[in-house]
Amino acid sequence: MLFSMVSPKVAKLAAAALVAASLGACASKTDDPNALNGGLAGRAGAAVPGSAQDFVVNVGDRVFFETDSTELTPTAVATLDKQAGWLGRYPRYSFTVEGHADERGTREYNFALSARRAETVRNYLAAKGIASNRMRTMSYGKERPVAVCDDISCWSQNRRAVTVLSGAGS
């Protein structure tokens, strides 16, 4: 519903901005779309460098996957390269890579699929030099959709791995 009328690319940006707003507003650790506050989104671009907001808005905290796939798309690789650069610059953060699947799969398989997505991201970041003791993974299967509707515009938003910063910070 939320993103059904916009292209996936625009929706993705919108999601990132909205999550930034939620992080700024209540320091939520999860990508919680219900805490969204459009009023804050405009300020997001001016986030303090090195802040969690900076990471979400200027780097991008999430990558998306094709249906039933755990392979990184070129867009995902570009995002993860930026993530690796930022995480390298700000080693005080530890983080959790949260894997998610869309609703178009069976529950148990989707838990494993989302675990594999999180692991793929973790491995990529590790290969880019991020220390593994800063990273943990978490699998949510199809249990935590961020976009809610019954068509592909939502499902593509839900097939994601989100890098959620924790610990230390500014």
Binding site: E108, A115, E143, V148
Partner: protein, 443 residues
């Protein structure tokens, strides 16, 4: 962390125990009665439900309620067509023979009469199943129980009638453990809940502050294995004791554990452990806590389910590229693929009768529930639509429950293996991940 609410369970469990004691006093009334031929053949294309009447039971006012439970059960089975109460030609007394001519004229083939009375602090329920055509009694039994367990008496009588007429075991005296869902889709609260097979005696088992999913009964029906998130850690498998509400994690693994199912003897659990990018299937002996690795592939191996004799395990794996169904020996040997149809196959569950494996099949954007023989042959789709998932077998292997996404949220449905019967399972709200208990009178 999910806290298990133990208190609400006590009234559910206690009557059963007292009832089971009472079951020893169970006796046959009509053992010497001439045998009646009141049977129905379940297979065949020209199947017609048997016209039957369930008269209000005489005696205590609860008699009409017991008759109502039986009538509802028999309608839902699809095997019987109960006559509306307003069309009953008489209110038969329990001790005298019914007016068979009048019941025959009303078009019924079978008649259930009964009586509910109080004896001390307990209720006594008696019933007779009559063959209206021959005027002979086909079954007659009596039950003593706690008044709070009166619905169970209705279910046991339903099972006796179903069993006599079909020659199969019954399935009405059973419970369902499932996931009760509430709240918006992106903030869904998922709690374990339990109820009778017909939707009565609904109780919530977990508090809902963390997700609880995929519950499955132990063979004794006293324990439930499920997966849950706790303390922000990766999801893992737990076992909860329904009587006391005590909850224990099954093992302690570095990654996610999920997809649990009990072995048929109840002494072990099979489940998946996530190890890096791969999920493999393990067996844990619940007494010794020893683990045995059953699969070892760079793939997602999950949803294992034992054959009823405990000798084999059916599971799903994407080792060949997409989700498909595989078989192996209980020790992990002889792994072979059995699903070869067009599409992806998951969530295999072995029938308690051993004759079929139920599954979820995804093809061209639709999710179907189907069955196939354990050698992979004879595939039949029982229902198909936008999203159907997670079949569970009735203990007699003739019916399945599953959940179906219908827009706002999931609801549970019941189908029979012929695909003739498809009825909603009543739940207070959205519901998913049903698991059917064994027949309670046999546990």
């Amino acid at each position: 962390m999910t806290r298990i609410l133990s208190a609400p369970l006590a009234p559910l469990i206690m009557p059963r125990r007292r009832f089971l004691t009472g079951a020893a006093a169970f006796s046959l009334l009509g053992v010497t009665a001439a045998r009646a031929d009141l049977t129905i053949t379940l297979s065949g294309g020209d199947f017609k439900p048997m016209p039957i009447a369930i008269a209000d039971f005489a005696g205590d006012q609860q008699g009409a309620q017991v008759a109502g439970v039986i009538t509802n059960n028999l309608i839902r089975s699809g095997i019987f067509a109960p006559l509306e109460k307003s069309k009953h030609p008489e209110k038969p007394s329990f001790d005298a023979a019914p007016n068979f001519g009048a019941w025959q004229a009303a078009g019924v083939q079978a008649l259930v009469t009964g009586r509910v009375s109080r004896e001390g602090g307990r209720i006594k329920a008696e019933f007779r199943l009559w063959d209206v055509g021959t005027g002979q009694q086909a079954v007659g039994q009596q039950y003593m129980t706690d008044p709070a367990a009166w619905r169970r008496v209705g279910h046991m009588i339903s099972d006796a009638v179903y069993s006599k007429v079909t020659g199969e075991k019954g399935f009405f005296d059973t419970r369902i453990v499932f996931v009760s869902e509430s709240g918006p889709k992106d903030k869904r609260i998922k709690r374990l809940a339990i109820m009778d097979q017909d939707g009565a005696n609904y109780r919530v088992l977990s508090t809902g502050d963390s997700l609880a999913l995929t519950p499955r009964f132990s063979p004794s029906s006293q324990e439930v294995a499920y997966m849950s998130f706790a303390n922000g850690a990766e999801p893992r498998v737990y076992i909860v004791d329904l009587q006391g509400g005590k909850r224990e994690a099954v093992g302690n693994f570095p990654g996610m554990s999920f997809s649990p199912r009990f072995s048929p003897d109840g002494n072990g659990i099979i489940m998946s452990l996530q190890q890096g990018s791969n999920a493999n299937i393990y067996f844990m002996d619940l007494n010794s806590q020893q683990m045995r690795r059953l699969t070892n592939t760079a793939a997602i191996d999950t949803s294992p389910s034992f054959s009823p004799d405990g000798k084999r395990i059916v599971f799903e794996s994407d080792r060949g590229g997409g989700q498909q169904i595989y078989l192996m020996d209980a020790g992990g040997g002889g792994q072979q693929r059995i699903s070869f149809g067009d599409g992806r196959y998951g969530t295999p569950v072995w029938s308690p009768k051993g004759d079929y494996i139920a599954f979820t099949k995804q093809k061209s954007g639709s999710f179907a529930i189907g069955i196939m023989k354990p050698d992979g042959s004879g595939e039949r789709i029982l229902t198909e639509g936008f999203h159907n998932e997670g079949p569970t077998w009735a203990p007699n292997g003739r019916y399945l429950m599953y959940f179906s996404e219908q827009g706002a949220g999931p609801k549970m449905m019941m189908v029979d293996v012929s695909g003739r019967v498809k009825v909603p399972v009543p739940t207070p709200g959205f519901a998913s991940d049903p698991a059917w208990s064994p027949l309670l009178s046999e546990t």
